[in-house]
Amino acid sequence: MDQIERPSPFLPVFLAWLVPGAGHLKIGKLWPGVFTFAAILPLYVGGMALAGFENVSWERYPVYFWAIHVFGGALTGAAAWLTRGATILERMPDKDVGVLFTAVACLLNVIAISDVWSRCRRGDPEDRAKARADASQPPAAPPAPSPSPPPETREIVGG
């Protein structure tokens, strides 16, 4: 039976949705949080730049917005609010790549959110791997008996 007390996942998961990496920081995992933030934010903003800063909007792209961009949390909220009056003057040459980048960034945040949930519920991945390795090993053999002294040998002399 698992006797380890785990933190409640709800606040970390909410923070992970709101700001990429914040959920990891909430549960004390600095480097996963830093890497998540450093991966998702540039991809999101870079994608928006490639798409002309008009691809995150519930009016212009409702399907993308409600199916994918909502997982970006505050990033999506800020992007949609700041670009709400954007007008499409010309088609950007790499707009498709930009749309894809922003979508991938939001989906990566889904993975990060699920990792926060998993760490809260089941512990760190290294600990789980160690527990699996321990469980897969055969039980330790009982200690070998100490070597008994050699039996006494008697020389039979004569007949």
Partner: protein
């Protein structure tokens, strides 16, 4: 930048981001996250390049 080079750069940027998140989800320490990120990046980029080359070779075969 030349278009093919730009596309390769986009591909590598996306792979890097996915690799970083994959590494962040598989380890906790800085060393572990870095190691897992590089592993995931190489694996994913390698698989995608292998699949792309396979499709390209198949298209060559079907055209011949």
């Amino acid at each position: 930048m030349d278009r093919p080079l730009l596309r390769i750069a986009y591909f590598l940027i996306a792979c890097l981001a996915v690799g970083m998140v994959a590494g962040a989800c598989r380890a906790t320490t800085l060393h572990g996250v870095l190691k897992k990120s590089v592993e995931a990046f190489v694996q994913m980029a390698g698989w995608i390049v292998a699949i792309a080359v396979s499709i390209w070779l198949l298209s060559l075969v079907t055209q011949a």
